[in-house]
Structure formats: C-alpha cells, structure tokens
C-alpha cells in the first residue's frame, strides 16, 4: 500500500518536473526553430529550412558595431569584476577585520537587487555629476552586478586554500611574489577562469543596465531590442538569439568545468555553487 502510494507520488513528481521543463525551455527552443525557418512571419506551420537569416546578420553593419561594443564591455567587465572579486574573496577568506560581515553583505547585495533599481540608482548620480553616458558607464554598472558572482565563485577556491601551503613556500626560500606565482595562482587559476567566463556571459546579455547607462554606442541586447520594432527583422534576430544562446551555454559549461576542477585540485567536494549562491 505504502509502496504503491510512493510510486504514485513519484510518477506525479516526474510529470510535474517534465511540465516545468517544457514551460521553461520550450520558448528557448522556438528560437533556433524560427531562425532556420524560411518565412518573415514568425508563426507555425514552419516552411522550408534556410540559413539566409544568418547571412542577413553577416551583412548588417550596425549589428557588427553592437557586437564590437558588447565584446569590449563584456571583456572589460570580466577582467575588472574578477580582479575585484579575487581581492574580496581572499580578504574574506584570509583576514579578520571589523565590520567584515556587513561589508561583504553590502558587496553581495547587487545579486538580489532588481536590475532596474540598480540601473536607475546609477543613472541619477551619473547625470548629477555631469558625466556623459558611454560604454564606460555601462562597464561600471556591469562590474557592480558581476563582482558578487565573481566573489561567490572564487571564495570557494580561497576558503579551501590551506595557508600552510603559503608558509611552506616562504619557508623553502621563495619570496611573497614567487609564492603567489608558483603556489596561489596555479591553485586558484581554474576559479579565476571560471569567474572570467561567468562575468563575460552575464555582461554580454545584460539589457536593463546597458539600456539605461549607454550613450550613442549600443550593446548587442540593446541593439536587438531596437530591432524588434521592425517585424521583418524578427527572423534575423531569432538567428542572432540562436548564436548567443549557443555561446552562453558553451561559456557556462566551460566555467562550471573550470570551477569544479579548481575544487577538485584542492580536494574539496565540488558542490554546484560553492555554497554562496
């Protein structure tokens, strides 16, 4: 009796799980579906297979500018956030200082703040200070929201770091700089790479902050949004979305792979999020 009841519950759970997945991912699957569909109207039934929308992308100059802008923003954001994140993660793991908990909480706050609030909150002082909006203001906004992710990823690497390894290196005659280069860096490197990849991905597809804080140069998501007003452009946007989707998945998988490798190197059980997110 009990056994069959449990089996029934298990069946319903799997139905629920499948339904959940369909709701979550079906719209995403529509993207590549219409990207390869030979019709300007995004509707079923599908007509023939085509790659012409990708050709259209290739020939759109404005798009190329947006891609360049986005790459610049995403790369800068990834580097700045990871440097800041690494410093904060090491400080949090290694040192005790007054007000550590509130300070760390404050740094992690953008993780839970609605982006629109962050965007508006940044826009107002930037305007007040008379700074002109540019890709640099976008980068500043993106660094703000990416740094918490970087800390979350890197703190597992730094927390698990046995300080006697550093001492052993010094004891064996190596300098502080040499110790950083030969011991610390190799051991946290996978975490650093993982952080770079995640921050890059977050920045690349971030819309709200980029929309509010950019000047005349638009990033890719902002460009896409602006193109949505023209129905004929829709299929090529679908094609662009497909490329971005594939790229994001590849980057995230890579990032997680690097993070797990970092944890494994230090002999830490690789939890999915490192305990912070």
């Amino acid at each position: 009796m009990r056994g069959s009841g449990r089996r029934g519950a298990a069946k319903w759970l799997s139905v629920y799980a499948v339904t959940y997945m369909v709701f979550l991912y079906a719209p995403v699957i529509l993207l590549p579906l219409f990207a390869f569909n030979d019709a300007t109207v995004v509707a079923f039934p599908l007509s023939h297979f085509t790659t012409k929308w990708f050709v259209v992308l290739w020939q759109t100059e404005a798009l190329h500018g947006a891609v360049r802008n986005s790459l610049m923003v995403a790369l800068s954001t990834a580097v700045f956030s990871t440097v800041l994140g690494a410093s904060a993660a090491r400080a949090a793991a290694r040192y005790r200082f007054p007000g550590k908990a509130p300070v760390m909480g404050f740094i992690m706050l953008p993780l839970v703040l609605p982006e629109i609030i962050v965007a508006v909150a940044l826009l107002v002082p930037i305007m007040q200070m008379g700074l002109s909006l540019s890709l640099w203001t976008v980068i500043a906004g993106h660094v703000l929201i990416c740094t918490p992710f970087s800390i979350a990823i890197l703190s597992s690497a730094f927390q698990g770091f046995d300080t006697s390894l550093e001492e052993a290196s010094l004891d064996l005659g190596e300098t502080r700089l040499g110790t950083f280069r030969r011991v610390i860096l190799p051991l946290v490197m996978p975490g650093i790479v993982s952080s770079l990849l995640i921050c890059f991905t977050i920045s690349l597809d971030e819309f709200i902050i980029a929309f509010f804080l950019t000047g005349t140069d638009v990033t890719l998501p902002v460009y896409i949004w602006s193109q949505l007003r023209f129905p004929t452009k829709l299929p090529s946007i679908m094609a662009l979305g497909t490329i971005l989707l594939a790229l994001s998945v590849v980057l995230l998988v890579l990032a997680e792979w690097f993070r797990r490798r970092a944890a494994r190197r230090q002999g830490i059980e690789a939890s999915v999020t490192g305990g912070l997110v």
Partner: protein, 367 residues
Amino acid sequence: MAPGTNKGIIQLSDVTRTFGAFYALRKINAEIREGEFFSLLGPSGCGKTTLLRLIAGFDEPTSGAISIGGRPMAGIAANKRPTNMVFQSYAIFPHLNVAENVGYGLTTRKLSKAEIAAEVEKALAMVDLQGFGGRAAHELSGGQRQRVALARALVMRPKVVLLDEPLSALDKKLRDQMQVELRALQQSIGITFILVTHDQEEALIMSDRIAVMFEGEIAQMASPEQLYRRPRTKRVASFIGVMNFLPATFVAQGDDGVTVDITALGRVTIRPGMVPEVLNPATIDTIGIRPEMLTILSNDAEPAERSARGSVTGTSYYGDMTYYTVQLAGGGDPVTISMRNTAGRSVLPSGSPVTVGWGAESVVLFE
C-alpha cells in the same frame, strides 16, 4: 649521547609573544644545541607551536631575541632563515608531483636542473621514497606525505629542521614506526631537529632533551630520563607518565637528604638528587612515586626495603602489564601500581589484601 657537539645553535633569550593581553609565551630562555633532537612538549595552547613559528620566522616575538647559528633573527623573514619546517598538515603542494615538491626550494637557488634532480633523488632515498618522484601529490598515503614533507625540508640542508606535530595524523602503528625511523634518520645526518608534540611518550622516545611547557613558560628542560625520574613540579610529574602523589610532612634536612613523614608509608629520608635545589620546608606537603617503583609482594615474603599494607580496589589488564589500584591502609588517595605479568604471577582480584614494597630512592620531592 647523540648530540655531536655541545655548541649552541639556537639561543632564545627572554622570548615573549603576546596576543592582546594574553601571554602566549612569557620570557622563554633556552639554548638548543647543535645536532640534538629537541622536543617542545606540552598540552595544546601551551605556546609550543607559537615558539616553533617564531623560530621559523612566520611570526615575530613581542620582545626578546632569537638567534640561529649566532645570527640574530629579528627582522629576518622565514624565506631567509636557515630553518625548514615539516608542517602538521604536511603542506604538500597539491599541483606539483613528489619531485617538484621536494625540489621546490632548490629552484630558488642557483642550481642546474640536473643538480636539482640529483639532490631530490638523494633526499627521497634518505626517506625511503626512491623512484616516487613522478607520483602526484594526491596519490600518496599519509605516511608517504609525511616523508615527502621531510625530504622537502632536508634537501635544503638547513641548520635546523622544525617539526610541527608531524606524526599526529598517522595511525598508531605507523606513528610508532615513524618515531623510530625519524630518530634514526636524525642521528645519522646529525642535523638539529626541533619537534613540537603533545604526546609525552613520543617526546621520551625521540628526544635528546625535552622542554615541558605550560601556559607559555618552560616548566622543566631536561633529558627524557631526568624528566621522568625527577620531575621538578607536580604538574610535570603528572604530565609525563603516571605519578602517585601521597601526602607528606617535612621532618628534617641534612647532608644525607631530606627526611619526611609520608602519611601512608612512614618516615623516609630522600636522597639529595631527588630533592629540589631550593627547598622551602614550609611548602612540602606531597611526595611522588612512580607505579613501577611500587611492588605488590607475593605471600612468600619477597625481600623489600620497606613495605606497607593495603587492598586492591581495581585492576586494568594490559597483557604484558597489570595496573592495580591499591588503597593503602595508612590513608591517602589510592595508588597505581604497575606489575609485569611474569610467569607464575596471577592477576589479583579486587578486594585482595596486599603488601606493597617500595624503596626510599624512588621517592621524589617537588618544589
């Protein structure tokens, strides 16, 4: 006697380390001799690891001075000191293999790759790990990690090797074996070893000299035998092995020693060697006697210098030995008596009346 010379290699003078208002070390004075195996022994929190880290250069004393090989160490960082450490966690670099771990320190010196490889192989041979150079760090067992850590320190040819509880992570069998090996290795290479441990047995087995530390101070510094035979204070006596304490009162002091009345055993004159140099008769209230210095006499009247009546209240059987708890008729706390289980001697049950034999020369008087 193992120490090759009596030349001092490390001088500690008035070494003090405070953390806020807490004294981790208070005015430590000691000289560690060249080539000796020296142990810092004490319970956790007694400051022994702090002292080792001060010698290694990971920390600086609040006041006082440390010199190694005649050179003052103030302001000299760990990477410039002629000491190398074997860490409690071994601190094997997880991303390097055994040879790279052992050769790590040599790369900071001006040596060719071939010279480093030769030195590494020599060091690995010293710790019985020939041919292990290519092993990854995570492929090593606990005992092997310990050996790699030791080889990594020895390959640097330091003046002093510092060992921070290096055997505490090993199981008992392996630990016993490593104690003997480590001691033999130290004697064959003749480098000064300083061992930090909380295990009194380990310190007794391995050391030439031991400094017993309590609450940031050295309570007694002596050879293992001296330390066991004549602990200066009650605290040292109960930390090293088992000691029976019996109430006693001062009677007289003369050239042949100090005479006391032991409540449970009677009057005895303790010879000068077992009496503190500075004696305050007013503070004498206790004597100490080791379990093996008391004997349970067989009924057929074994000869004994002195004897006392008592009854067995408990037994612990260890195979080769039996530890009896005996309440002496004269009063005081029950005493522990260890007896070797020789042929023809059966284990006495609780409640048995016994005659306890003892000798005057085994009694210790404390400061």
